[in-house]
C-alpha cells in the first residue's frame, strides 16, 4: 500500500512518482512544489523516473500561508 500525503492510495508499486503527482493534479513543471518519498527529498529531475515501491510513503508539499 502506497501512502500519498498520509492517505491510502490506489497506486500500485511500479508506478512512477509522476503518476502519483498526477492524482493530486500536480504537473512535473508546477512551481512551489516539493516531494519527499520515505523521508527523503526527491529532486524534481527525478519525478518522472522514480519508481515507487510497495510501501512507499509519498509526501507532496506546496506553499502555504505562514508566519
Amino acid at each position: 500500500m502506497i501512502l500519498l500525503n498520509g492517505e491510502q492510495s490506489e497506486l500500485a508499486s511500479g508506478e512512477t512518482l509522476a503518476a502519483a503527482l498526477e492524482r493530486l493534479g500536480v504537473t512535473t513543471e508546477q512551481r512551489g512544489v516539493a516531494v519527499a518519498v520515505d523521508g527523503e527529498v526527491v529532486p524534481r529531475a527525478q519525478w518522472r523516473s522514480l519508481v515507487l515501491s510497495e510501501h512507499a510513503r509519498v509526501e507532496v508539499l506546496s506553499a502555504m500561508q505562514g508566519g
Partner: protein
C-alpha cells in the same frame, strides 16, 4: 530644541535643525531609512512580513503593498488539490522574496528535511529555522535548534533562526554560521510586545549579524521599540494579519519600523532623573 548650555540663540538653532532635516530627507513621506544587508542581499524595507492568518490572498497582497515588505515568510504543507488561487503567484506579483519557514517542526531532523524540501520548492537557500519545543509557548527548543542550524549551514543554507531572547544562544547560533538571529519578543501570536527589552539590547551587543525581532509584536509601538533597541529589522505576522484592518496595520508597521530605525540612528538623548531646561535662562526678563 536649543540647548540651554550651548549659548547659541534658539532661533539660529531651530533654523539649522530644520535645514538639516530637509537635507537628510527625513521630512519626505514615507521616511527613508538605510538599507539592510543580510547574507549579501540588500533589503530596502526593514519590515519582514509573515503571510499566515490573512483571510484571503487579495488581502495579503494589499497588506504587503501597504507594508512595503520585500521579504515574506511562507510555510510548506501537504498540497491541497482543492485550494483556490496560488500563494506563489500572488507573492510573485507582489515582487517579494520568499523566506520559507520550518514552522511546526519539533526536531532538528524534521526541520532539516523541511528546509531541504523548501529549497526544492522555492529555489532559495534561505530558511527561517524554527524548531519548536513546547506547544503552549511555541518557544524554541535550543539544543535541537542549534543542531539543525549547524547542519543546514554545512549544507549551504542561509539560516535565520527563530530563537529565544538569550544572548548566549544567539552567539552560539552565529558561531555555527547563522546569517542573522531572530529573537522573540514574547510568544508567537501573543501580541505581548517585547517582554525583556534588556535582553534584546544584549543580543544586539553579542552578535555581529543582523538581529530581526521575531514574534510577540502586538502593535506599532512594539515594532518601533524593537528598532530603537538596535534590531536591524522586525518580523510581523499575526499583528498585521489578525488586526481588524490588516492593510492599515501594515502601513502602521511600515511607519513604526522606519521611525524606530531613524530614532536609533539619530542617537537618542540619555535618560536623566532630573529635568534639564531646553529654554536658556539668559536674557530672562526681570519681572519681580
Amino acid at each position: 530644541m536649543a540647548d540651554a548650555m550651548s549659548g547659541r540663540s534658539p532661533v539660529r538653532e531651530d533654523a539649522a535643525t530644520h535645514n538639516g532635516a530637509r537635507a537628510a530627507g527625513v521630512d519626505a513621506a514615507p521616511p527613508a531609512t538605510d538599507p539592510l544587508a543580510i547574507a549579501g542581499r540588500t533589503l530596502r524595507s526593514r519590515l519582514v512580513m509573515g503571510t499566515g492568518g490573512f483571510s484571503s490572498l487579495a488581502l495579503l497582497a494589499d497588506a504587503i503593498a501597504a507594508g512595503g515588505s520585500e521579504l515574506v515568510t511562507v510555510a510548506l504543507r501537504r498540497i491541497d488539490p482543492a485550494a483556490r488561487g496560488s500563494l506563489i503567484d500572488v507573492l510573485d506579483a507582489a515582487g517579494v522574496e520568499l523566506l520559507p519557514n520550518t514552522a511546526g517542526c519539533h526536531t532538528a531532523r524534521d526541520a532539516v528535511l523541511t528546509a531541504r524540501l523548501a529549497r526544492e520548492a522555492f529555489a532559495t537557500d534561505w530558511v527561517k529555522l524554527e524548531v519548536i519545543g513546547d506547544e503552549d509557548t511555541l518557544m524554541p527548543d535550543a539544543p535541537e535548534l542549534l543542531r539543525a542550524a549547524e547542519e543546514l549551514v554545512e549544507e549551504g543554507f542561509v539560516v535565520l533562526p527563530y530563537t529565544t531572547d538569550d544572548p548566549v544562544l544567539a552567539r552560539r547560533l552565529v558561531d555555527v554560521g547563522c546569517a542573522a538571529v531572530m529573537p522573540l519578543g514574547s510568544p508567537i501570536g501573543s501580541g505581548m510586545g517585547i517582554r525583556n527589552p534588556y535582553n534584546i539590547s544584549l543580543i544586539r551587543e553579542a552578535v555581529d549579524v543582523p538581529v530581526v525581532l521575531d514574534a510577540g509584536i502586538g502593535t506599532a509601538s512594539d515594532a518601533t521599540l524593537a528598532m530603537e533597541l538596535g534590531c536591524d529589522a522586525v518580523m510581523v505576522a499575526s499583528a498585521i494579519s489578525r488586526a481588524e484592518d490588516p492593510v492599515r496595520m501594515a502601513a502602521a508597521m511600515r511607519a513604526a519600523v522606519n521611525a524606530g530605525r531613524l530614532a536609533r540612528t539619530a542617537g537618542r538623548i540619555p535618560r536623566r532623573l532630573h529635568a534639564r531646561a531646553s529654554t536658556p535662562d539668559e536674557g530672562l526678563a526681570d519681572l519681580a
